[in-house]
Homo-oligomer: 354 residues x 2
């Protein structure tokens, strides 16, 4: 069975194969016919967090950080194999006598507790084939730092929120990174591989978009040298009318989105909901995820609406960045329209049923 | 506002524009900036029916029936404008003193009622531009006939199911078609246009796939001439082990699907669910809709699984027909993999989030 399954991916040796990959994505390791899952699998899911943060963190770690160092053509992606669930769970805890490796401070006064700063840690491994086997060539670690902390002064009491300043997010993230690097270097297998560490500021509990990576560093030894700052910003569209616009570029996108939205929200007699997440780097749009929600009365309405949205997207949405548009009703997704990064072609697919 | 919106589709005149269309799909009519919805909008949704039937009926009416007569290049699709909600609702009712146009028989004995045969009726209009305006060039009518009837002998009593034989489905469908044609010809606007009527056998209440069209006719006058039979069959995969296979072609597809399924269901340590709907015409596969459901623990798992599914689809799923694969978790769709009819290229898209 293992061999039969392995035969389906790209067979690399008797020992392992890889998933296929689309342009610009990594092949990933399949071992004995099964995906090589993370040793810390499930830890991220257990965490009580805004769900947008997890997707945003994992997407960013691979697309923004890892791809800077490990090209998708030469490296194979492997889920983290050196930090296991127990280790990561302990590191995410508070430092106590029982949990000496906790990266978060002891609770302190119940009425004014120290925040939990470190919210998530993820390891990704980048491999190359050498002889008949895979060799670890680099590790990427993401560390997510909270921007707010919610707590109760007494059990069943009301919740209070502490904001964590940008300066604290920076200093706590960098302090945690230094500890994590030292611990990784203590593992014989990780003594000499390049380790990239990236810091992510978590979005708050009520945000409709995840947080952003703000700094990264590549370490060859067991001390962190200098950090490179990143200037990413996520925006939810349409903007609340009270929100000041971030800069003129984002105002341009916001205007384009408004035109798109007004073109399609009145297509049917019932109003369609149109929202988007947009990401900017150094003030320049990187991509958008658009969601259109409406009530459809027939499959032909879905077909016609999808064709219309393609036209409206071509006409109004910004060029040159990846955009996807989910078209959904209360019974789930009905169609998708998307344009890949670097492409000028819009694709659309309507989900049918026999 | 109307003009601004109209500008987004393909402007045809001051009066109307059309949605765009992908290859092999119809452009549809936009009037004064809004989609021209069906005059019977919502009637289909109100009907108490297996939800697979509605999508299957509407998709089939346009793709299997209408495209035989009205090419997507020369004709523009318009939602039905000649049968309104009240009319269709009356026609779908039982024939009584109060509802003389009901196409279904009076109830008869409560303990042994006459079935409701006619379950749904849909009108589609096919248009061509002539001068500055649109002219109706043909009407397609679909009539859905039940293959089973559920009833109660007394209020709050148990439900009984009557099977409706194929012979009855045929004769009831053809009788209803003759009445519908006569009523349409009585409308001055429909006196001289070609009217195509297609008959659909509804799937039963518990089916995981919709019904199929079994006959159609094109009428120029107000009497129906001969019917053309259609041999369509929908199958749910994997087949229950007790189900006898329909024919050798469907056994081939079923085997290919089994291989595909076993390649991917053990990719993760947790089992992934893999099901499909397949459609056959004259024993030959026409297309498949596949759904893969699993629990993902990270975005990187979704990326890797999607790449792997593309490989498995290329290797195992049948060539030359349209196939789509929804990849979903309990929080909804995560990615889509599809190949259009007549294409050999598989497309994939992973839904990200910022």
């Amino acid at each position: 069975m293992g061999l039969a399954l392995a035969a389906c991916g790209n067979k690399k040796s008797n020992d392992y194969s890889t998933t296929g990959s689309a342009t610009g994505t990594y092949q990933a390791v399949i071992k004995d016919g099964h995906y090589r899952t993370s040793k810390a699998r499930g830890v991220a899911v257990q965490q009580n967090d805004n769900t947008y943060n997890q997707k945003s963190f994992e997407n960013g770690l691979i697309n923004i950080i890892a791809k800077k160092f490990f090209s998708t053509k030469s490296y194979i992606f492997q889920e983290g194999q050196y930090l296991d669930s127990g280790t990561v769970t302990n590191w995410l805890g508070r430092k106590t006598a029982k949990n000496p490796t906790g990266l978060n401070p002891a609770e302190g006064k119940k009425s004014d507790p120290n925040p939990l700063y470190v919210q998530q840690i993820e390891e990704q491994d980048y491999m190359q084939q050498s002889g008949g086997s895979l060799k670890l060539k680099g590790v990427v670690i993401g560390i997510g730092i909270n921007s707010e902390y919610q707590y109760q002064k007494k059990t069943d009491g009301p919740y209070y929120t502490k904001n964590i300043s940008n300066a604290e997010v920076q200093s706590e993230g960098k302090a945690a990174a230094a500890k994590v690097l030292k611990r990784l270097r203590a593992k014989p297998e990780l003594k000499n591989v390049p380790i990239v560490i990236a810091l992510y500021k978590q979005a708050g509990q009520d945000s409709l978009v995840g947080g952003t990576f703000f700094a990264y560093t590549k370490a060859s030894g067991n001390k962190i040298g200098s950090w490179t700052d990143l200037d990413y910003k996520n925006v939810v569209l349409p903007k609340a009318s009270s929100a000041a616009s971030a800069n003129s570029n984002s105002t341009g996108t916001s205007g384009a989105f408004s035109n798109f939205k007004s073109q399609i929200q009145n297509f049917f007699p019932n109003i369609s909901g149109v929202t988007a997440q947009a990401q900017y780097k150094d003030g320049t749009l990187q991509g958008m995820h658009v969601t259109v929600t409406t009530q459809f009365y027939s499959q032909t309405e879905i077909n016609s609406f999808t064709g219309y949205i393609v036209q409206a997207a071509k006409k109004y949405l910004p060029n040159g960045v990846s955009i996807d548009i989910k078209i959904q009703s209360d019974s789930g997704i009905q169609a998708v329209v998307y344009r890949d990064s670097g492409s000028s072609k819009w694709n659309s697919h309507v989900f049918g049923s026999y």
